[in-house]
Symmetry: C2
Subunit: 499 residues, 2 copies
């Protein structure tokens, strides 16, 4: 393929993507295929002779699209969003076109420098403390990782090695292996699965402490666990606090947990993968009160900030423990500016790194910080609208709503809620997933797609209520009156959240 054919192929793909996203509502959000569907459509071996790009374009609707779960459909309400925006797509495109590897400053200076700058943009946009900024003379800083999972894990490794050093000074007779065998980490039972996984991979017990009735990890619970473990000769090394839990978007009480971590010398990591983006709006910042106690903070612009995956933003108060844990040197990796600028390979598992800062830069410039704030407030208001209408139907209960997430179930009980969810999934018009809240099965409804409008929310409401009507007696309340009332976006703009 020469550059002329690339231009044709590339531009045809740009058109294809635009058309796909423009018309995404017309597709069932959940695909109809069964496992193995593609084996009938794709040959068992790669072709010997090269094909024309038009053959690939033809295959997209035949082979790929039937098996796509449309994460950017306005009817995708499962999980938290994965971001997708036009500037970020173009940023990803340019990153591939340049195709540099930014493992050290010298290996492509722009890659490291733009990353340092946009990480500062993000830190300021969220209102993070100054200690996290990339600046000369500072011991902290920020970088882009592939995922929150990766970040939680590597901070655990940094915490592990920092703790071993500390304990070794206190008890010089202990071997590193002995100390390692007594390390222990903590999070709440509401933490994301990736936190548990980090513990498994690091072989450090990750204790899932019980959250309170609001899904929050409290100081009392943590302190009790830490003291008990310490009295049993264990060494607490790491706490993962969640701001915006996966199940219920709960916020751990940082300002209470933080002082305990500080006192005990335990590394405090903040996982704000989804909800972190909301801190661009001052009305949400009270939820990160106590952030100054954090040793590391992570949120995913690739979730709610419109930057395509992968883009997980990680900041460290002190980068040295991570660098110490990860630093390996080779003659061929050295360069004359070492020490003057970060070599980001020491901040991550992999040696190679793509130019991911481009898509952050593009997204923030095209939207502006006002645009990002509008996006968050708009999505939160759509969630409020959904909640408002669904609550009018007394067959439903809405035990909780936070930011873009609404939890609901049927008052008729778990069995009915499960049936509702099954039937909705079978119909493939909406994608929703369950979780447990206060001992009951609930359905998570998340406003995910940036294309979502009030009319889309009404579509989702009608579908949910129609399925409920099939399962239960139709409501007596004439809930449609409420849907048909004009949607006044401003009325639902989130006024900040109650804790």
């Amino acid at each position: 393929m020469n550059s002329e054919e690339f231009k044709q192929f590339g531009k045809a793909m740009i058109d294809y993507i635009a058309t796909y996203l423009d018309n995404i509502r017309n597709r069932d959000v959940i695909p109809s295929v069964e496992p193995g569907y593609m084996t009938k459509l794709v040959p068992e071996e790669a072709p010997t002779k090269g094909e024309n790009w038009r053959a690939i374009m033809t295959d997209l609707e035949k082979v790929i699209m039937p098996g796509i779960t449309h994460w950017h459909s306005p009817y995708f309400h499962a999980y938290f969003p994965t971001a997708n925006s036009y500037p970020a797509i173009v940023g990803e495109l340019l990153s591939a076109g340049i195709g540099c590897v930014g493992f050290s400053w010298f290996s492509s200076p722009a890659c490291t420098e733009l990353e340092m700058l946009v990480m500062n943009w993000l830190a300021k946009l969220l209102g993070l403390p100054d200690c996290f900024l990339n600046k000369s003379g500072s011991s902290g800083g920020g970088t882009i990782q592939g995922s929150a999972s990766e970040t939680t894990f590597i901070c655990l490794i940094a915490a592990r090695d920092r703790t071993i050093k500390r304990i070794k000074q206190k008890f010089p007779h202990m071997t590193e292996s002995d100390i390692r065998g007594r390390l222990v980490a903590y999070t709440s039972d509401q933490a994301n699965s990736s936190v548990e996984k980090a513990g498994l991979i690091a072989a450090i017990p990750m204790k899932h402490l019980p959250s309170n009735e609001y899904g929050k990890l409290t100081a009392e619970t943590l302190l009790e666990a830490v003291e008990k473990d310490e009295s049993n000769g264990m060494f607490p090394c790491y706490v993962v606090a969640t701001l915006g839990s996966t199940g219920t978007c709960a916020f751990d009480k940082l300002e209470e947990i933080g002082p305990i971590c500080k006192k005990e010398g335990v590394w405090l990591h903040i996982d704000a993968a989804y909800a972190g983006t909301a801190f661009v709006c001052p009305e949400y910042r009270h939820l990160m009160k106590g952030i100054e106690f954090a040793d590391s903070f992570n949120f995913n612009p690739h979730k709610w900030m419109l930057v395509n995956s992968d883009c997980s933003a990680m900041w460290l108060k002190e980068s040295q423990p991570l660098i110490d844990a990860f630093k390996v040197e080779r003659i061929y990796l050295r360069h004359k500016y070492e020490g003057l600028v970060p070599d980001y390979r020491h901040w991550q598992i992999s040696l190679g790194r793509r130019f991911r800062a481009l898509k952050v830069w593009f997204t923030l410039r095209i939207y502006g910080t006002d645009g990002i704030r509008n996006h968050i407030r708009h999505q939160a208001s759509l969630a409020k609208y959904f909640e408002y209408v669904l609550k009018k139907d007394h067959r439903f209960d809405v035990p909780l709503s936070n930011m873009g997430l609404v939890l609901f179930n049927l008052r008729a009980g778990d069995n009915s809620t499960q049936k509702l969810l099954n039937l909705l999934t079978e119909r493939k018009k909406l994608y929703l997933i369950p979780c447990h809240f206060m001992g009951k099965l609930v359905v998570r409804f998340v406003v995910c797609s940036r294309f979502t409008t009030a009319a889309d929310i009404e579509f989702s409401l009608r579908e949910i209520i129609a399925v409920a009507n099939k399962l239960l007696l139709p409501t007596q309340e004439g809930v449609w009156l409420h849907i048909d009332a004009a949607y006044a976006g401003t009325a639902f703009v989130c006024q900040g959240m109650s804790e």
Copy 2:
């Protein structure tokens, strides 16, 4: 930004990339900027109001390009290549456009299914044993990871947990922590830095055994180390053998190492990050003799196979140890087809995963397997051409050449070689890096860019010789006569490598 603006922006970027790559020879391969150059060009905070995309296009040449090390310049001879091809760029574009997350089959079936299929395409193309194929009823399979570093690390974790289980059965009185404290892993002193890093992260001693004079790890060395450690009460759990080492493209003797690993129950991982692609050519396959002993095999299509980063191909003979090590469950991640198809989140550190199989599919279809083979043979022949000409200049020594890599230095000694390299780097026309070989400083010359022609090799030769002329007396030999002789590509086609 609406879809119309996206089409304009996206197509302008396609044109920009085509123009950039068409004219990449006109840019110095090494940039002229100093640390901090970008802080003068980019504001300290993100803009409040959104900007027009044309402002970004204007900034590319002003802000980004001055700081780019051009990895796809034909004069980039440092490291091993990072891939870049037109179909792969378009594949990355579509992956961003669809923006699905493939952590389970259900979360986007096409994402998992295409990955299973293209991993089989790759396995067959390389001639890997059947046990690595994705097929129903098989306990093995393949998946795409982000990097060889990641792969080396996660296989170490799988090996760790498999070994702990085995030892625990043998010595039920031992705790897991005790066993963990006695684990030990091995590689050669020629292994990539990522292997050392994997050991650091996993907190398992990674012993760098001395390689022989050809840079190979031999059976005797490994056996001696294993037996010594076992007699000291250690538990050997993991061996990383390298096929195509970073420094000198050396190949460990798999067919000798393999049986030892099998006998001792030690996990054998193969790191063929660069050279793995060469196995598409039957004439190179003798270098992976003994592959059937491998528990895991990894190569990077994002190095030499024209698939843009990130795309690291990993196969496991048995996937269960990895799944056991990584599996965490949540109600919201479950689906009705579990067990029938792999849920790839259990095969990797992160939960999220992009649709990376698209770019593999696009690349193999557009090039065809013949096209991939031609690419490898052409690049190897260009390396031979470089070697052939440089050897005519008796001031240079060429102690080794393998595939796309040629090692050379000045007979005048390390001091002169270092000066040569420094001066070349200062001139910014070529990018080369050093390593040590047989106790001497050598320069690694790698044919990296897919755009490289014989004329480009001649340009690089002229530059190297011109700099040598500055440092030493000009050669008496009239080496240019050799460069000016017509380049007969076929004469340099690699006939397979000597071991």
